[in-house]
């Protein structure tokens, strides 16, 4: 692409949604300016760029803001062609989108409940839902990564799962229950780009604590 690119990412350290975008940018080798946003005290810039959801991440490319992590990922992939994140074949692209949406709907929501909801019965119900969903993913995993030999759209979406497990210290998937996903999570975490991007466990934990507090405040 010709001319000077201005790429800015508004994020909060430890947010899995932000980590997703950072991995995509890094896989493509795109230089960008990172701007930290504080949960509960978002900047005017953030609110102007994302008045609808009022959330990080927001990617600002040459002054144009893009919100919603899956939308941002597709934008990055269509704008910078090096190291594709989605498959090029339309059917495989459809599967990329299907499974990435599935992870957001059917894995992230119950996984968050097992961490954030205090009621033990509700937690147990969420854990069962999550296990059902993980079984679908376990069956879907055919290669080293969902993307094949390299990390792709579905792998980036799925980073939530080991991250939740790590931070909450809950056994969401063990090697005997989900052997393929377990191996995947190790390969994923050991990927050089993921290793470089992933914040420390303390930073992730601090983010989750702040997020839980802001959710609790919002529900009062």
């Amino acid at each position: 692409m010709a001319g000077i690119e201005e790429v800015e990412l508004l994020g909060s350290v430890g947010s899995p949604f932000v980590i997703k975008v950072q991995i995509a940018l890094k896989l493509k080798g795109i230089e960008y300016k990172y701007v930290e946003e504080k949960l509960g005290n978002l900047s005017e810039t953030l609110l102007n760029h994302n008045p609808v959801y009022r959330m990080v991440p927001v990617l600002v490319h040459n002054g144009k803001p893009i919100s919603e992590s899956r939308v941002i990922l597709e934008y990055i992939d269509e704008t910078w062609k090096l190291n594709p994140i989605l498959h090029s074949d339309p059917y495989k692209r459809a599967l990329d989108r299907f499974w990435s949406k599935f992870i957001d709907d059917k894995c992230v929501v119950p996984a968050a409940k097992t961490i954030f909801i205090p009621d033990e019965n509700e937690q147990e119900k969420a854990r069962e839902e999550l296990f059902d969903a993980l079984q679908f993913l376990e069956n879907e995993l055919k290669d080293k990564f969902f993307g094949g030999e390299e990390i792709g759209f579905v792998d980036i979406a799925a980073l939530f799962i080991p991250l939740f497990q790590e931070v909450a210290e809950k056994q969401l998937f063990t090697s005997d229950k989900f052997p393929k996903l377990h191996k995947w999570s190790q390969d994923f975490y050991n990927h050089p780009v993921v290793k470089e991007i992933m914040p420390s466990k303390e930073q992730q934990y601090a983010y989750f604590k702040a997020r839980a507090a802001s959710l609790a405040a919002a529900s009062k």
Copy 2:
């Protein structure tokens, strides 16, 4: 595209999700076989093709199944290039995806609540949420359609809104509250493709009744 195309759509008459796919296929001029599925008594074929969500619509192209209406729409647009549904510019495509997701999350969910939830306080809360969301859409509408001079991805997503209003006979948007959306809904309904696809009010109503009954049965 060379060779004989086999395109099959598994749907239920009156389902807005199915209508979305039918409009896309019609805009592209694609011939397909329609297979009717009964809510509450889905065929083995449907369950095999969409074991995850167990829902219509499912598009089967040369034997390969695709589920989830937004995923199907993107697949159709990438497979048959005539009469594009998404914009070609990456930033405008990102906005197409953003607003279409926004409609599903922030308009369809509260609109459904105003119809399906019996509690009046909850209904009122949902109506307020819906109005906030519609205001964003009202501000976003710059041309005749969200897609410009022709129907696009966001218009197809937004068909839910006039449809809910029509079927439930609720004043969700009036000409004085949302003048641009009101005019849009008339232009949209009068579009020859939409006119041809849209089932009768009786069929839509029958679908909504069946859907409400199956939701009520599931929550027991």
